[in-house]
Each structure stands twice: as C-alpha cells, then as structure tokens.
C-alpha cells in the first residue's frame, strides 16, 4: 500500500510520457505529433514539480505561521521551461505550415512518397 502512495505520481507521469511518446512515433499527422510532444513535455513538468513537493508544505511564498515550504527550485526551472516550450512549439507549428505549403500535405507517409519522386 505504501508503495502506491509513495510512487503513484511517478507512475502516472510515466504513463503520460508513454502516451505522448506513442503519439509521436505512431501518429501520421504532423500537428498530432506536436501535440504528442507537448504531452510528453508536460509529463516531465509534472515529474519535476512532484519531486519539489514536501508533504505538509505550502507554496514557497513567505507567510506568517508557516514553517514548511515546498522546494522553489523545480518551480523556477519549470516556469521558464513552460514559456520556452510554447515558443519552441510555435517554431514546430510554423515548420508544419511551411511543409503544408511545400508538399500540399501534413501526413507523414504522403510527403515521404513525394520526396521519393524527387
């Protein structure tokens, strides 16, 4: 029982990570691949934040009467990672738009066929 309480967060993280990973390698559509990549990314965020949590702690903002705070360091790392993540996602989506313009499709197998023709 204590094993479940100790580790369920990490297990769900692994599940989400694999769901994202599966979408990236199995999906045919490039937009869906990017969504999968984002799911993967968010699972990593949850992993970091889970590690920073202290049982019985509170948010790392100084307040009266509170002695236990959760670890602020993972929060900082993930906060910036989220914004950088959306910026890089935007670059990925822009590439998808350009691929659509160049090949007329965003389905992976279709533009591979066109590459073979060239």
């Amino acid at each position: 029982m204590s094993v479940i309480v100790d580790y369920y967060n990490y297990w769900v993280v692994v599940f989400l990570m694999m769901a994202g990973f599966y979408t990236v390698i199995a999906a045919n559509n490039l937009v869906k691949k990017i969504v999968g990549l984002n799911i993967f990314q968010t699972s990593v965020f949850i992993l970091y934040i889970s590690m920073g949590k202290v049982s019985g702690g509170s948010a790392p903002i100084v307040a009266e009467g509170i002695t236990t705070y959760s670890n602020p360091l993972p929060h900082v790392l993930i906060l910036t990672a989220i914004v950088v993540g959306v910026a890089t996602t935007a670059v990925g989506l822009a590439l998808v738009v350009r691929i659509k313009r160049a090949y007329g499709t965003v389905e992976e197998n279709e533009f591979k066929d066109k590459d073979d023709l060239i």
Binding site: D6, Y7, Y8, N9, W11, V12, V14, F15, L16, M17, M18, G20, F21, Y22, T23, I25, N28, N29, V31, I34, G36, N38, I39, T42, F45, I46, I49, S50, M51, G52, K53, G57, A59, P60, I61, V62, A63, Y69, S70, N71, P72, L73, V76, L79, I82, V83, V84, G85, A87, T88, A90, V91, L93, A94, L95, V97, R98, V106, N109, E110
Partner: protein
C-alpha cells in the same frame, strides 16, 4: 485529502491523454490538449507550485491552443487513416514504460522532506532568500537573482524562437483596405471585449509588478498582455489589431526586452559587481536586489509579450490570407 484530489486529477489527466492519442478529429485533439493543460495547472496548484500553475494556465491552455488552431486552419482538421503498423510502436512504448516504472521504484518516496532534492541548495533558498533578497516570493528571488543567468538564457530562447517563426512565416503587411474585417455580426462579443480588454491589460500589469510578493512575474504578465491583444485581433480582425500594435514595434520591443535584461547585467559590472549581481545597483544591497529584479522582470515581460504576439500575428496572417484566396 490533498492526495485524493491529486490522484483524481492525475486520473483525469491520463484519460485526457488517451483521448488525444486515439481521436482522429484534430480539432477535438487540440481542445482536449487545452483541457489537459488546465488539468495539469490544477495539479501544479495542488503540489504548491502556484507560479508554475499560473504560467501553465496562461501559456499551455491559452496561447498554445490558439496557435494550434491557427495551424489547423491551414492544414486541415482531419487526420487521415495511416497505413502505419501500430504494433511496433506499441511494443516500444510498453517496453520503455515498463523499464521506467521499474526505475521509479528506486526513486525517493513522493513528498518526503528527507529527499536528496530538498537537501542541496533549496535549504539556502528557503532560509536565506527572504533576508538576502528581501522578497516574500522565493520563486521570484531564485528566478531573477540566484538563477539570473539561466533566465537570461531562457529569455534569449523565446526571442530566438520568435525570430525563427517570423523568418518561416513572415509578419502581416499593414493593409488599410481590409480594416473592416472581424466579427461584424457578433455585437455582444464586441461590447464585452471592449470592456474586458483594458481589464486584462491592467491585470497583466498587476501580475508584472506584484510578482515579487505573490505568484506572478514577467513571464506570466507578458503572456497575459499578449492574450489581451490576441482577443482584440480575434474579435475586431487582424488588420485593425496590426494598426493598434504594429508588427514593426513588436520587433523592436522583443529586442528591447532582452537588451534591458542584459543591460542590467552590464550595468552591474560597470558598478563593480559581477554580471547580474544586483547588490551594487543601489547603496543598500537589498534595495539593489529589488531594483535589479524589477528591471529584469520588466525585460522578460516585454520580450515575452512581443514574442508571443508576433508569433500569433505570423500564424494569423497566414490563415487570413488563405481565407481570402
């Protein structure tokens, strides 16, 4: 109780992720991804990461959903059936997942204060930063002061990503002829948008300058301010929005933010300190820290605002051009 809520939210997150994997309608996939982001924001609140939750709600659920919808309008909303075999990917995923689950058993238990991650620098951040920096919000202290180099790098990445998107898609041209586009028939939407857009911008400013004392800061404020202008562009049309906040101005602002950040660092070493050492910016070290943090948070806010908005402009102008054709 908190554990129970956590478990419930994580379960919902897993179900949403499964929906994303198996749905073929990409519009539904993007919407589910927005829900997924909101759910993860709730989990972050539950795990005490209020700043992170704030950012995830504004960025993950707001901006990235809009960008993905913009992409879908250009690429089509249905995923075609693929001739891919699903067996091999499934096998790879299950094997990797099993290995990772086996790996988690060696990790320190969740939430234990004795975990190694809480023993290293975190102690100093929690115990000393309120005196050294003088700010109640430790996340802001660590983000802007202790890890100032890191944040400078992240801001530069956001700036570089905006340049990348602009060079791939290009900014919209200002077009006075098409100024009357937008949602003419949605009168209610227009009236409400006019009321709440100033409120959103006011809230962004509050988040920007209150970030030292509560959750918030430059990253969140920049995204919220960009969201206000995005709402304006969606309701009143892109041509009008580009008249209000001009694309050329955004390019200058994006660079200005990074310059302000790096300039604060340069100023600190001309005053005799190290790069990004704010103690020397004022006579009193704590006052110097306050000044430095306000300046660099402002730089971050300006860059994030300009980068997010110009990325949106780039996508929206492509979508609008396609609709006209």
């Amino acid at each position: 109780m908190a554990e129970l809520i956590n478990l419930l939210l994580l379960g919902m997150l897993a179900v949403t992720a499964l929906g994303v994997v198996f749905l073929k309608d990409l519009f539904a996939v993007v919407m589910l991804f927005g829900i997924y982001s909101f759910l993860s924001a709730l989990i972050f609140v539950n795990l005490d990461a209020v700043d992170v939750a704030f950012t995830e709600a504004a960025v993950g659920a707001g901006i990235s959903t809009v960008l993905m919808l913009g992409t879908l309008s250009l690429t089509g909303r249905q995923e075609k059936m693929s001739g891919h075999k699903t067996l091999l990917p499934l096998l790879v995923v299950v094997t990797t997942g099993a290995a990772l689950i086996y790996g988690t058993l060696d990790m320190p238990p969740f939430g234990n204060p004795e975990n190694p991650v809480h023993q290293h620098v975190a102690l100093r951040y929690i115990q000393d930063s309120p005196q050294e920096i003088g700010l109640p919000n430790m996340v802001t202290s660590v983000l802007a002061s202790y890890r100032g180099f890191d944040t400078l790098g992240e801001t530069a990445v956001v700036f570089a990503a905006a340049i990348g998107v602009l060079s791939l898609l290009g900014l919209p041209k200002q077009d006075r002829a098409a100024i009357e586009s937008g949602l003419e028939s949605h009168l209610v939407l227009k009236v409400v948008a006019k009321i709440i857009i100033p409120l959103i911008i006011l809230f962004a400013l509050y988040v920007q300058f209150h970030g030292d004392y509560g959750p918030g800061g430059g990253f969140q404020a920049g995204v919220i301010a960009a969201a206000a202008i995005i709402l304006y562009a969606l309701v009143f049309g892109l041509p009008l929005a580009t008249q209000v906040v001009q694309p050329g101005l955004l390019k200058a602002l994006a660079a200005l933010g990074v310059l302000l950040y790096a300039g604060t660092g340069v100023a600190s070493f001309f005053l005799g300190g190290n790069f990004l050492d704010y103690n020397v910016l004022a006579a009193d070290p704590v006052a110097g820290q306050h000044l430095g943090i306000i300046l660099i948070e402002l730089g971050v806010g300006i860059t994030v605002f300009a980068a997010m908005l110009s990325i949106f402009y780039a996508f929206a102008s492509k979508a609008e051009r396609k609709n006209i054709q």
